[in-house]
Structures are given as C-alpha cells and as structure tokens.
C-alpha cells in the first residue's frame, strides 16, 4: 500500500492527518487530550490508519482517489491534489463528485454478489471458484464445438481501466469476433460524424482555456468524464470571463451556471447550427486560412447555409433570431478559443447524425480544431510496453477470419456496421448469436429492453462479471463476483484532462482485500485461461505485475506510480494536424462527407445530402413525431448523481438524487418523470403522483416531478432505473422499455431515444 501510515494506541476518533512525518507527530500530540464520554470505549481499541491511492471507476473517468483505510477497511475518500482528472490541474485540490464519494457504498454494499454462481436445473446457486471456473471452461468449449466462437457476442461493458485481459481471453484466444459497444448506445451519431469529419473519434474541449463555450445537448457540469471538466468550465468563467451558453430543453446545472439557457425545441439543433453558420459566413467571421488550407467541402457547406437565416431557424427552433445572431457572433469572435460541443442530447436523436455534423461544422468554420480553448484532439502522446511481446509470447488473433453475419435491413447495416445494440435480439432470433459474455454492463437498460430480456433467456450461454443482481446477472448461466475498483490494481493513461498539453498516467494498487469471495479481474481471467489451456498467456502473478511490465516504457515501476497516484509523462502540442494533416480519409477537415464512402452510401439510401443539412423528424428514418394521441416527446438523460455505472445500486447516490429533486421525504427511490406544471395540470397530475408513460409500443410507471425547468411538451427521466437495472428493488421506470428495435439512428445504428408519449395519473402507491 502506498501513502503514509500512522499507528497509535489512542483514540479512534481523532483528527486524521493526511501528511506523514512531522505533521502527523504534531497532530498526535494534540489529539488524545480531551475526548470523554462515549469515546472512552473506542479509546481502548488499537487502530491502524493508512491513506492509499485509488482511481474512481464509477463513470470510467479514473479520478484519483485518496482513500483512508482503517484496520483493512476503507472508511473515507477524497480526491488527489493535482490529479489530471480529479483536480483543475497542477497545484489544485483534488475532490470526488457525489458519485465518487459514494463508492464505499458500492464496495460494502449489502446487495453485492460476493460468490460465484452457476445455473443448475434452471436456478442460480452459489459455487466455489474452482467449480465455477471449471464449469465456465466446459460450457465455453461445448459452445465453441457446437456453434463456433463467432456466435459468442462480446458485450464488453466496463472492465476496470479497459484492461486487456477480457479481450485476451474472449477475442484473441477464444476467437469471438463480434463486439457491440458504446457507439450504438451512447455516442455514435456524435463520434462517427466527428471521426469522419475530423479524424479522432472522441474530441473533448480544452475547457479551461476557452472564452466561449456552447454546451449543446451536453450537460458538462453534471455528466462529466472526470471532474476536470466542470472545474475547467468554472476556471474559464473566472479566469477568461468566458461566456457559457447551454442549449438544452431541460434546466440542468450547466444551465444554472450558464450565461444563457436556450431551451430549444427538441431535435431542431441542426437548424440552429446552420443558421449560426449562415451568420458567421455573412459576417465574414470564419477562419479563411483554416478553411482554405485544411478543409474539404466548404463550398457545399456555404451553399447549404446560404438561405438558412436566423429568422428561418427561429421558426423551427423557438430561439429568437437576435439570440442566434448574438451567439454566432460571440462564438466566432472568441475563436479559436471557443467551442461548440454536442453530446448525448444530440446523439440520442434519430436525426442526430446530421445535427451533430452541423454542429461540428461550426468548429471547423471558425478554426478552433485542436486549439487552445477549442476542441482538443486528446492523446497521451506515449505508449506503454507490451508485456507479452517482452516475454516473447506471441498472442494469437483467433477472432480473425471468423464468419460474421451480414445484414442489410437498415441503412447503417448496408454501409457502416452490421450489428448495433438494438439489433442484437434479432441476431439471436436468427441464430447468428447464441451466447454472450459481459463485464459489468447492463444492456437491457440501453435499448430495445423487452427484446433483450427475451434474447438473454434464449441464449444458450450467458457469462457475466458483476457485483449486483441485474437484468443480465439474474439471467446468466455463470456469474463471477467482480471486485470493485477499491479491491483491484488500476492503470490508465491519457488523454483528456486538466493538463491541456500533457499526456499522463495514473495508477493505484488494491486499497483493500476483496470482499467475500470476489476476485480481482486479472485473477478471474487468469483462472479461466488456465482452465481452458491458455495459462501460458497469463504468466504474471497479478495485475499489478502486468502493469509493472507495461510501465517500463516510461521508466516507472507500478509501486512508484501507485505511491504518486499520477505522473505527467509527455508534451502534446496544440494543432497536431499541422504535422501531417487530419486523420481522415483525405487528411482534411471535412465539412462535406462525400469523401467518406460509407457515409456517401447511407446518404444516398436516405436521400440526404452528404454536406451539412437540416433533416427534420419525419416519422420514417429521422424520428417519430408527436400527435393527438401521443402529444408529448419523451427522452432520458443523466444527472450528476446518476451515471451509467451502478449508481442505482448505491443508497447514498439514490438519496442524493432524491434530495436533488426534493423528494427525499418520500419512501420511493426510483426515477422521476420530469414534466412541466402546465402539462401536468392539463392531466390532473400533481407533484409526487404515480404516473404512466405510454407510447404507441409500451408503457412504464414512475413518480412525477413537476418542474418549471423542463420545456412544455417535453418530458423525460433519468436512465437506468426500473426493470433489469442494478437498483435493489428495480424501483422506477426503465425508460428503454419504450424503445424498440426500429428506434435507431439510421447512419450509425445507435439506439435513438425520443418517443412520442402520453402521460396519465394512475392510482396506487409508488413501488
């Protein structure tokens, strides 16, 4: 364990000192003097406190943790000062957000799965590790002989720090070629459009240096990937007097911090972006040099926005033409230290690809690509060693040359990818997928939920690693009890952080022993590999030893890194494209995607332009529209207290979420349907009522939260509750019950999440 230790025979409850050495000694002298009463009982017990480092994995951001461990138990958590993810940068204090602060509640959760389970005679029963590993190996062998490895779907989920062992076993050795990941549940329309236009799949703003930030369907102050993001926005406001514009039909905490909240008519973001482009070109505020030297398709873009005046967009978006002009000019004048950044609010739309393309185009137009305070094409700027290569172990690629199904029902299947999350159940029905291996993910909360439940029942082999009984683990044949992040070593490099021009690495050892019969991931995959005859690929004793080997590349030992928590490793300059061009098919920033063959094919099928364009919802490909029967538009989202991890399993996070919306005095700890009081009044719904949300396809029930902060005509809830979730009581409504196979964005195949619904008050008590 890293960090400082202090042992004393005095009081259990005393001011604990983070620093070791002299400071600790001073504190000890003053500590034991005056405590009386109840404390006397604790005074006799010997305590042993240490602080060690960890890396929070609740939202996969790896914020550095400082963990207080007493007698082998983690008792308190905070952030690591100066940490690239957990702080605003060098010399700044590290913190943990509400989700991170609740992590002890995950590790020591009374509902945790702490033993392996196997299904016998239709029922899951606990088993020893030896029995479960042997059984898994046998079932995997049988499955491969009978169906072939290509019929085992890797739905990878969230292995700690994206460690390589899950893929090593199931992709490289077992040879399962098909993986469905986050591009089709979270960010495809945003990230595919960006990758094809600008060449890097997941750009992120250089928040703290920005002077004009447009958070566009992007709730950066709540749904961040590391606290460096909201901290960076606050720094930009304080240090650069930056303007923050929040475009969202919902009043988020980003709206609260923003200079301007624009509660746009949902799904019209693309029209707003085109009108802004129109103004910027008309006012000659665009970056002519960047456009002429580095871009492709500007003429097509210019033509596309020629008649898209602010007045035209005002009609569509419900945003005043004057405001559109103001933000377009403000954004362009602040460039290149300006950023318009879309996220799931855009990616969840059936017309989201084009809307995202239109927004990305604005960043190219004003030349803020990879610029200080603009978008940043983050990279670590260094590599790590390959421990297998160093040992002369040749890792096979058994997933190659495996037959995979080719589908052509949807446009994306004909040009971009054969399988998306929503289409997995159909592949199971067709017999193309017959098994599934998963690590800490819960696909039935990500789209086409009822079909996924059936598919999981139908599959012949379901193996999962998890900590809670979810819609997957309850249906699994083999459940391995996953160790939480506090019980495992961790290593990750990056990338996006508060260090704008630096690459970094962060790591930590297990802070505590695994709970119950849980095992760290490395031990789990090593045991499985050994049982399947692949022990030679797991020669290391522990994950820490593997990481130690990787770190040779930068001259660090894992012990040293864990002691420090993080290390700044490399310099990563701005405007990396100036050295060798953009990482796109033509080396340019593409306004027009005619050069991207896959997209050109989709566009032709859909009858849309390859250049930026306004594509309204159309009841066919681009989103269902509301009508008299289903007059409200429903979607889902996150809030700070609830991420895509296992927050719904954590009582502290559920409490914070209930407090956030003022319902903590109710027994109910499910999600809320946020509805404008005007819409509620028209339906006789009062705050805290139990309501049914019905679409043309299905229905869910949950508690109503009346809120002036949501746009009339638009309703929504936090995602990840209800049936199949990690919530101990399945409380609330699983928003994705309303989502069916056809609700996909046509270019990327991502689950689209805008559903026309009606809401009615129902009797009875919340579950």
């Amino acid at each position: 364990m890293s960090g400082s230790a202090s042992t004393d025979g005095g009081l259990r409850r005393r001011t604990f000192l983070k620093a070791g050495g002299a400071a600790a000694a001073v504190g000890l002298t003053g500590a034991g003097v005056s405590a009386v009463g109840e404390e006397a009982t604790a005074a006799s017990s010997e305590t042993d406190r240490t602080t060690v480092h960890g890396n929070c994995w609740i939202c996969r951001a790896s914020c550095g943790q400082e963990i207080t461990v007493e007698d082998g138990k983690a008792i308190d958590l905070t952030g690591v000062d100066g940490h690239p993810k957990a702080s605003a940068g060098q010399g700044r204090e590290g913190t943990l957000c509400s989700k991170g602060a609740a992590q002890l509640n995950k590790t020591y959760n009374p509902n945790r799965i702490t033993q392996p389970h196997i299904r016998e005679d239709g029922e899951l029963r606990s088993a020893s590790w030896e029995e479960a590993i042997t059984y898994a190996a046998e079932r995997l062998e049988e499955f491969r002989e009978e169906h072939g490895a290509e019929k085992l779907l890797r739905y990878q989920g969230y292995p700690l720090a994206k460690h390589p062992w899950h893929n090593l076993v199931f992709k490289n050795l077992y040879g399962a070629p098909i993986k469905v990941g986050r591009k089709t549940t979270c960010h495809g329309p945003f990230s595919d459009s960006w990758a094809w236009m600008s060449g890097y799949g997941r750009e992120w703003p250089d928040w703290k240096h920005s002077e004009y930030i447009i958070a566009w369907g992007r709730n950066v102050m709540e749904c961040f990937r590391g606290q460096w993001e909201p901290k960076g926005v606050l720094d930009a406001k304080e240090n650069n007097d930056a303007t923050l514009v929040c475009i969202d039909p919902r009043y988020t905490k980003t709206a609260e911090v923003a200079d301007k909240w624009l509660p746009i008519e949902p799904r019209t973001d693309g029209a707003l972006a085109l009108a802004m482009g129109h103004v910027i070109i008309e006012e000659e505020l665009y970056d002519e040099q960047f456009v002429s030297k580095w871009s492709h398709g500007f003429e097509a873009y210019k033509a596309a926005v020629a008649d898209k005046t602010p007045e035209w967009a005002a009609e569509i978006t419900d945003i005043d033409a004057d405001v559109i002009r103001e933000i377009a000019i403000g954004f362009a004048e602040a460039a290149p230290s300006a950023v318009a950044f879309p996220w799931t609010g855009i990616a969840y739309q059936s017309n989201g690809f084009k809307n995202a393309q239109n927004i990305h185009a604005l960043n190219g137009l004003v030349g803020n690509i990879d610029s200080p305070g603009g978008t940043r094409q983050w990279t670590s700027g260094f590599g790590l060693d390959d421990p297998h290569e160093k040992r002369g172990i040749d890792v096979p690629a058994n997933y190659k040359d495996k037959p995979t199904p080719e589908y052509d029902d949807y446009p994306f299947q004909r040009h971009v990818r054969d399988l998306s999350h929503n289409l997995v159940p159909q592949a199971v029905e067709k017999g193309d997928i017959k098994g599934f291996v998963n690590n800490w993910s819960q696909p039935p909360k990500s789209g086409n939920t009822r079909a996924w439940f059936e598919a999981l029942e139908e599959m012949e082999l379901v193996i999962t690693v998890d900590a809670f009984w979810t819609g997957v683990s309850k249906r699994a044949d083999i459940v391995f009890p996953g160790a939480s992040q506090l019980e495992q070593p961790f290593l990750k490099s990056g990338g996006d952080s508060s260090y704008s021009t630096k690459g970094w690495i962060t790591g930590s050892k297990a802070a505590i022993e695994p709970i119950g019969d849980c095992k760290p991931d490395y031990q789990l995959y090593k045991a499985l590999a050994e049982a399947m005859g692949w022990g030679e690929y797991f020669p290391w004793e522990s994950g820490a030893e593997f990481y130690d080997s990787q770190l040779d590349a930068i001259g660090l030992s894992f012990d040293e890194l864990a002691e420090k928590s993080y290390e700044i490793v490399s310099d990563v300059p701005y405007r990396q494209y100036e050295d060798g061009g953009f990482d796109t098919v033509n080396g340019k920033f593409n306004f027009d995607l005619d050069v991207k063959e896959a997209y050109a094919g989709v566009a032709e099928d859909l009858g849309v332009s390859t250049a930026p364009a306004w594509i309204p919802p159309d009841d066919e490909y681009f989103g269902e529209t509301t009508n008299d029967e289903y007059p409200l538009l429903f979607t889902d989202f996150f809030v700070e207290q609830m991420s895509r991890g296992h927050c719904q399993a954590l009582s502290q996070s559920l409490e914070a979420y209930a407090e956030r919306f003022g319902h903590e005095d109710e027994e109910y700890r499910g999600n809320y349907l946020h509805i404008n009081p005007r819409d509620a009044a028209a339906r006789g719904i009062e705050d805290g009522d139990w309501v049914r949300v019905a679409s043309a396809d299905d229905e869910i029930e949950l508690m109503a939260n009346l809120w002036e902060g949501v746009r009339p005509g638009w309703v929504g809830t936090e995602h990840g509750f209800g049936a199949g979730s990690a919530h101990p009581d399945d409380a609330g409504g699983n928003s994705m019950i309303l989502n069916k196979e056809r609700h996909v964005e046509p270019t990327t195949g991502m689950t689209a999440r805008n559903h026309p619904v009606e809401v009615e008050r129902v009797g009875g008590e919340p579950q």
Partner: protein, 199 residues
C-alpha cells in the same frame, strides 16, 4: 474565544452536485436515510422559460448566539470557547427537540436514539463526536478539512476561522444575519431565503 470557525459558500461556484452532503455522511458514518447534517437546496424562481435555480449547500451555521443553546433545557449544547463550533453533549440530551424548533436553519437532527446530532465541522467522525474534542485545527496546523469541503467539486465551500474566510469575500457578499450565523454567502445578486426544515 481564540477564533471563530465558520463556512464560506460561493453560489457562483456551486454546481449542485451533492458531493458535500454525501461526503458528510461518509465521513460521519451516517446511512443514506439517516439524519442530514448538510443539505443542498435547489432554490428556484420563475416559470418556463424565465426560470432559474440557485444551489446552496447549508448545515449548522455555528451561530454567535445559538438559539438552540438558549432553549436547551439541560445545557447539552455548547458554544465552544476555543473555536466557536456549536456541539452537543449527547449524554445530556433528553430528545425534547426544542433545539430543532428554535433553529432557523433546521440544523439539529435526530436519529433513532433521539439524541440531537448535527454538523460539528468534522471535529470527529460521527454523531456527538464534537463534544470534548480538541480545538479545530487548520490544515496548516495539521488539521483536516470537513468532509463537505474536502470534496467540493466547484471549490464553492470552504471552512476555517472567520477572519481568514473574510479575506475571500468579495464586495457585496453577505454574512448571514438571521441567527448571526457564521456563514458567508457569495452570490451574484441572488437573494435567498433559507426556509427552516424542522424535524
């Protein structure tokens, strides 16, 4: 009194995340459904689209002249001479709840044992811990920040001797006057009335 400790809160920096209230419960070993020593209020104003919220994190204000102490029939509540932190001696508490009724901020809370408990600026790590604890020390003097402050993502919440905190204050910030609480509230012109949340 050598120094008076208090809180400083900047509404412009609060992102309403509840890391403070969760950290308070974690540090003090309080279950999720247990007493809430620290709360985050999402004060709202207006109707769509002219709507706004202000997030405010509040706890015990450690008043100059604590009304809870005045009404306590058993003298269980102490305004500490050393650091001005208001603490309760749970052995003396009879669970009458007068303190909760008298407090303008709803700070005193009760658990199943019916003994008053509330924020003690993390003098200890649990209910009743503040009573008899050594003087609160700053980090410079080897102390540790209260849990709420330690994990404040927006750096909106600070704790310390009031004379040090006053150095942070910008023009226009208000020190709370209602109960002469030791609480500095920074905001950009927002007016906020904190409603009592008696048990």
């Amino acid at each position: 009194m050598t120094e008076q400790w208090g809180f400083y809160f900047d509404a412009e920096k609060c992102i309403g995340c509840h890391a403070c209230s969760v950290s308070c419960r974690v540090r003090n070993d309080i279950d999720a459904d247990g007493p809430k020593w620290r709360r985050v209020i999402h004060a709202e104003n207006g109707t769509f689209p002219d709507y706004e919220q202000v997030s405010v994190s509040i706890s015990c204000m450690h008043c100059e002249d604590p009304p809870c102490r005045t009404v306590c029939p058993t003298g269980a509540i102490e305004k500490r001479a050393t650091d001005g932190i208001v603490v309760v001696d749970q052995d003396k508490c009879i669970g009458c709840h007068y303190c909760a009724w008298s407090c303008p901020y709803g700070a005193p809370k009760f658990d199943d044992d019916d003994k008053m408990q509330k924020c003690h600026l993390c003098l200890g790590e649990g209910a009743g811990d503040g009573h008899g604890a050594p003087p609160k020390a700053t980090e410079a003097d080897g102390g540790r920040k209260p849990g709420c402050v330690e994990n404040c993502v927006g750096d909106a919440l600070k704790a310390g001797p009031m004379d040090e905190l006053m150095k942070e204050v910008t023009e226009g910030a208000a020190t709370d006057g209602v109960g002469k609480g030791n609480f500095i509230f920074e905001s950009a012109g927002s007016t906020l009335t904190i409603e009592t949340d008696s048990d």
